[in-house]
Symmetry: C2
DNA sequence: GTATTAAATTAGGGTAGGCTAAATTATGAC
DNA sequence: GTCATAATTTAGCCTACCCTAATTTAATAC
């Protein structure tokens, strides 16, 4: 039986949390991300454990098995291929692709996945700058990237990815011209306030909460493995 | 709350059965089509009635309300837009589009539906020759069409639609060159056996079970309302 | 009208996925 | 070490869907 949307969403969330803070991943962290009650997640984790998709230490947290990680990565591949396709072929605005992909990722066939990848010519990055896992379903290595709010003033940097979490923030960033591939100059970083950027000659002030969802790379570090400029649509 | 896939599939099935034989639609006819137990369908119909999507006479059958028919037609629009898109833009073979569309039809947003229709330039027929309902969700008028097995020998006819029910039959028909828009000559109709057609100069024998899924229109009757030749890919 | 039969419903039971409230366990303060 | 708190699990309940088996109703034959 192929995994249900709930199972896939839970595995995907554990995968992301593992990337961010490493295992073990706690129940309430998952519940927060999925907007479910803790008890609901506990019973879902029971099922994941039965299916050998995670290992678990009572009261301590869980960790993906190889099997679980492969499922998570496949869902991630679906998600990012869909985002890319929606933006490139159906003219979706950059900030709207996430929501649609989040539903469809659970319902496309292997055939559909293949044809998407083929039509897009096996893209390596999605519209947010995130790496798209390959057909082998190896976890993509997350490039070590610095959040914008932690950058030094005076850096000349290039945006490599923008989190796809919040649609309003995304729309705002797209509006001021900040997309993966944009080169910017950091004019000022205030400890508790706005971060000022020079974007294409215009100064833009970004609230810090929003800025932390932007990851940047120093211009010197731009190389093939990061490959940010294949998708500079703004 | 938007209707679940089970609710949508049941409404779609009732819609089709109403088109074929008119209301009331019996429980076991629905159960057969959906490959579910009768008792399962009975309890689904209870829910449909609660939601005012159907009316029901105990032991007699059910009928769609306006509300229920609108939901069914929207699902039908999704299905046929998806089939058309898969065939035209993702290079799906004609006989494979049905299965993929049957899952995805329940999971696309109104936005996705709009962008599909726009990209396809508001198509009127899907790859099987079936009419695609418009944005207004008015039920498309099913053109009165004759099943092939009921045609007179000697007719010069044009294929207007081919049922999308059975993938194997579809592949076979596509293989011998029978798709919506093909003009054929009926050479022979045996009472219990094969039907012989002249397709593009070659004689093709079709088993009667398969032939009944092909609907035809006399060449004289071909007009704008039927518009079969905008999609003659074979 | 009665008997047969087919169709439909009811009865009873199962799993997945959702919740709140109560109990339990781990953790950090002191 | 004890205590307060936070995280986690358990207990108990709900709905949607799914099933089989038993019952009821409708339709048909005679």
């Amino acid at each position: 039986m192929s995994p249900s949307p709930v199972i896939e969403d839970t595995l995907k969330t554990i995968y992301h949390l593992q990337q961010e803070a490493g295992p073990p991943v706690g129940t309430s962290a998952i519940a927060d991300r999925l907007d479910k009650a803790q008890a609901t997640v506990t019973s879902t984790l029971d099922r994941l454990e039965d299916q050998e998709l995670i290992t678990r230490e009572p009261y301590q947290g869980c960790e993906l098995t190889d099997k679980g990680r492969t499922v998570a990565v496949e869902v991630l591949r679906h998600h990012r291929l869909l985002e890319t396709y929606l933006a490139d072929h159906l003219d979706y605005p950059w900030e709207q692709v996430h929501e649609e992909a989040d539903r469809l990722e659970h319902h496309i066939s292997e055939e559909f996945e293949r044809r998407l990848a083929e039509t897009l010519e096996n893209p390596r990055r999605d519209p947010h700058g995130d790496p798209i896992p390959g057909e082998d379903l190896e976890p993509p290595n997350q490039d070590p990237m610095t959040p914008l709010s932690a950058c030094e003033v005076g850096d000349r940097v290039v945006i490599t990815r923008v989190s796809d979490r919040n649609e309003d923030d995304l729309a705002y960033l797209a509006d001021v011209g900040i997309t993966p591939g944009t080169a910017v100059h950091i004019v000022d970083v205030a400890p508790f306030g706005m971060i000022t950027l020079d974007v294409d000659g215009t100064e833009q002030a970004i609230p810090e909460e929003v800025a932390t969802s932007i990851r940047v790379t120093s211009l010197n570090d731009v190389d093939d493995s990061v490959s940010v400029d294949h998708r500079g649509d703004a």
